[in-house]
Symmetry: C4
Subunit: 348 residues, 4 copies
């Protein structure tokens, strides 16, 4: 089952600047992980229940907020690369769909402006910057602007290696846009160091979880987990949730597909905190597999970008709505009427 | 081993209207299940017995009737789409071959007319409609017309999702034809609701099994089972047989191939009721695998339609006869002279 | 590792009549088994021993005769289809190579004439014909002509199904040639029945093993075994050897590749009698895998025919010699200097 | 992740004489092992740790010498085929990179001259020649010239079989070059026997390990091990290290990929001696897999030759440096800051 035609990968490729397209679609290294992510979900098969009353199928969800769908929007950087309204479009789409949205640390819009278009909770993704005071200030701003959870990206001590292609040029992004969210925290002088200040701090450890929780008063979900023991280590360090991800294949190339990693993480966590997942989810049946295997929600990265690129807010909405509709349809055919009824026995 | 040349998939494609062809050949969603069904049987290999007296190989079968072959005709809708004589041609072919035929609830001919061309038993497939009195009346008619079993399709609370293709048009089917079997039960007025009345009832449960048995006095085989626990649940609710099927890949896309599901279901049922199977059976060796793994009979869906399309009754007959001949030939080479001698040790 | 270039499959295809080529290369049914036979050996990998003294590597073998190589010639019908000297060329090649040869029941030369070109033992392949007296007479003649073992083909109660191709014509073979070996046993009158008399008897059982042993005084190897329990059944019925084969994929299509079946059969037989194997062996490393897994010898079917077709006796010799040379070379690199040193630990 | 563009396989192919190219790139037999080596590493997936302080990632290594990287240079013959400075270029590159280099027994430069360009240890690869006194003299010279370990190639009692291609010609190598390292030990007369004298001795056994250790006073690493029991046999015979290799697929074709063999060998050796590995390592993530699975170092064969061919010493340096950089990057993303922190749990 593929996404709505008008917001497809092919449609996005046609409208995007080739360098932007390459930035969005590429993974890291040899593109092993990015290339296999979606296929890994399709290795699962369904074992439906039959003869259940499925006249009403609900996808409602409580997860650091109340949502109408477990199909969320993963954090991704710099949405004005895709549509003029940038993150405003994304946020409006998320709100319209009743979907959880995670705003990236790297946005082309101030988070307060983004928050303003959502009449309810949202989550804020955190990169701890080399100057931790900037991060501290930012997460406080996020809390004040209505964020109900933080998502600490744990798989990015530094940016994943991308082999030189010969033809790639820098992203068409002004400093002003690239720095929109953090500009207010930067020193007015000594500009030579700016990029260094806001670069990821490769030295952060699990202690960061407590620190963020304390600074913001918000639950901290750790993103980028692919093993059970790491999930437990984060939970013991205070994590309020675990996000199984290999960063869309953009960090350690060859990292396990999330479709393979999810069951181990769910088993290790034993329900102490919710587990969510992203990576290669492209349809309602992909989502059905993930949710049946124990994810509380799934997140779309590139598909939402495709939607933004092809049709701004409406495009992003179509993507989330369509995957939600596919999920609801598939749940009924599998004999389930609520997310609570999904369990691993539905998957082989 | 492929089907007889003159009734092949390619031959049918040539003669059928493209929309009808698409309707027949497509699955649901991303066509995962429809695409892998036949190949899943070919993953099995045979472990033949040798030096057995195989001068006479029989394929006789008792299964809610007496048949000369375990190669049956699965229920499919609207046969006048394929050949002018519609279900009359199919029924005549089944009778000529000594094969079990299942008449769909959705036919282009009144069931009584179809029954008239068969001098013996047949099975009737049931969709419970939103107005249950129509279904009740229909199954009583089927019993009166000689049906020896009901096949309750359990995997279709509603019709499987088919992504819009842009070019697909409605089937070339008049209301009169589409309603042939149920017209007599429809109210003469309030036509606006008709399609709603006869649509599947998404609310039916296993209680439907007892209800149908009581209304008709016939054994009820539940079709669309892919897991052992679901088979048991149906048996406990009164099912007289289990039909392993994913509806030709037309319902929940990504549902387990029946070739993979069959052994689990057979093991769970432990011989309490017969188990039959359909999906991707295209040759006598596919049938040999299924029967060895514990199916009492196998059913052909699309191949019979190809036969009807290319040559009406004769075409359908050629398909069933040829697969039966291939099965008989293969049984002998495997050292078996009757269906009772087939066992799982023949398959690896 | 492929065969010598001048005697390759491609070279044979060029010189042979297309109908003969089709007869040789095709399998039965959907060509599943014939298509996967060679590849199945290539799924094995070697675990060589190192630092062994391998200055002398021997391939000598005692197996119902004394041979210089375990690379034998499998029985195949009608060699005058491939080279004017027919089976005389094959036999001379076998003798020159010191290789065991199995003469088919279906030859274009009288077995006495074939035997005359071999100064030593050979094996005779048996199809039990509907008139058993013909078979009885033939095996006695074989014994008298120096055969040291019989090979009873157990997988052919009748000839495997070949789907009609539309273009295939009968083999270019006169009755005289086709009947060369049995003509002397046929009644002079009632010619209409001849082909029926010499057709395989589909009614033979394991009792045939004792009968043949008694008629000929020779050990009986049963050919066509793919399962351990069947091997044991034959051994208990008096078999002197077991030949793992699926008849080059020409009988039950989809029968297990011999590369997969061999280990089970070897394990079941527990050394009570020797086990040999054929099917898809195309190089010395294929042979190394088979011999390591417990085969006492391996047999080439089609490759010898390619050799005959391209260059008569010399071509057949090149094939057997080259595979033997490859085997000897590979044995040394695996750290083995005799067939006795090959064991399953060499294979993964 | 592929190698640096300027030193790639494709770049080397363009500059090398076709016969030399074929000599470098080919494997033995049917090229099964050479063809699958690299892909076998890519079947592994990573299970990274997150939220570790990875500001400093070190690749330092003690292993019969002190090195800055575990990416070593495997022994290969005749480097003047690739670059005019031959082994001098290779040695200088190894020293510049801080990488372990193994000098082949078959060089186009006297080992003393090679050793002179390295200000530190290096390893010497040993083929025991039919005249053992030549080998004895050579290993003593190696020790005197600063070698810190011997690498006894155990998988080459004779050179692996290469099927005739019809077009291949002898390597463009004068006798003088081919004999550079051993000329001083050859008798001045009786030249007809020279190649025989220096050919591998197919009769050597594990006793050679002790003999070499005694002659040279150096630890002896046995190269060409693919099974645990063979590793133990060598360790018990005095080996100071085990080198898992199938000789780049150039000896027994179909020998196990080293990526599959490594875990068994590491498990068997139980840390008694270090284990290293080569074969198909083409990137830092390939190296990460090998090192995580228990290798102390990994060695590059052909990639260094590609570097030499495209740009002499600088090309070889780029290859080793780039793979080291990729490894260091990947280690950090996997949460490890030193080789000691790599363990099998990082790999699935
Ligand atoms: C263009 C792009 C930018 C991204 N930026 C971020 C980011 O700023 N922070 C983050 O935690 N993840 C980021 N991600 C990773 C996504 O959150 C998510 O893990 C990934 O895209 C999911 O895989 P999918 O694209 O296959 O759905 C980015 C992904 C893409 C494709
Ligand atoms: C065109 C078409 C119409 C079908 N209609 C029905 C139906 O009315 N009722 C039903 O239970 N199954 C229906 N099926 C499913 C078949 O009974 C059967 O499960 C399936 O076709 C078997 O797979 P095969 O086509 O690969 O042999 C239909 C299948 C096709 C292809
Ligand atoms: C053209 C042809 C004719 C054959 N005729 C006989 C035969 O007469 N008797 C018999 O036992 N097997 C016969 N076989 C089977 C071979 O003995 C052998 O099992 C098979 O060819 C081995 O597989 P390979 O061709 O892949 O090496 C024949 C095979 C071929 C290809
Ligand atoms: C052209 C060539 C020459 C080689 N010569 C030697 C040699 O002289 N001694 C030796 O032990 N291994 C030799 N090898 C094998 C390498 O040491 C190493 O095992 C192999 O190349 C590793 O695989 P890779 O090429 O895939 O990295 C040679 C390999 C190649 C490609």
């Amino acid at each position: 089952m593929s996404l709505v035609e008008g917001s497809s990968e092919a449609a996005a490729r046609e409208v995007l600047d080739p360098d932007v397209w390459h930035y969005v679609s590429r993974g890291a290294g040899g593109n092993v992980s990015v290339g296999e992510a979606a296929g890994a979900w399709r290795t699962y098969r369904f074992r439906p229940r039959v003869l259940q009353d499925v006249r009403r199928v609900e996808t409602d969800l409580e997860l650091f907020g109340t949502w109408r769908t477990p199909i969320g929007i993963a954090p991704s950087a710099f949405h004005q690369l895709y549509t003029p309204a940038g993150e405003l479009a994304t946020a409006a789409a998320a709100f319209a769909c009743g979907a959880p949205m995670v705003l990236s640390s790297r946005t082309t819009t101030r988070l307060e402006d983004v928050a303003a278009v959502i009449q309810g909770p949202w989550w804020f993704q955190v990169y701890v910057m080399r100057d931790p005071s900037i991060t501290a200030a930012t997460v406080r701003r996020a809390r004040d602007a209505g964020a109900s959870a933080l998502v600490l990206t744990g798989d990015t001590p530094y940016v994943g290696y991308v082999p030189p292609t010969g033809t790639a040029r820098p992203l068409p992004l002004t400093d002003e846009l690239a720095l929109a969210n953090v500009a207010q925290h930067l020193p007015h002088e000594g500009v030579a160091d700016i990029w260094e200040l806001i670069d990821q701090d490769a030295g952060i450890t699990v202690d960061t979880i407590e620190w963020l929780a304390k600074e913001s008063g918000l639950p901290v979900i750790v993103k980028g987990i692919l093993r059970g023991d790491e999930a437990i280590r984060c939970v013991e360090a205070g994590a309020g949730g675990i996000w199984v991800s290999n960063h869309g294949g953009r960090q350690l190339d060859g990292a396990l597909p999330t479709a393979r990693a999810l069951p181990e993480v769910v088993a290790a966590v034993e329900g102490q905190v919710p587990v969510v997942v992203d990576g290669g989810i492209r349809s309602g049946t992909d989502a059905l597999a993930a949710l049946s295997l124990g994810a509380s929600a799934v997140f779309l990265g590139r598909p939402v970008i495709w939607g933004l690129a092809t049709d701004g807010q409406a495009g992003a909405e179509r993507v989330v709505d369509e995957v939600t509709a596919q999920l609801r349809h598939a749940m009924g055919l599998a004999g389930a009427t609520s997310l609570a009824q999904l369990d691993p026995s539905l998957v082989a």
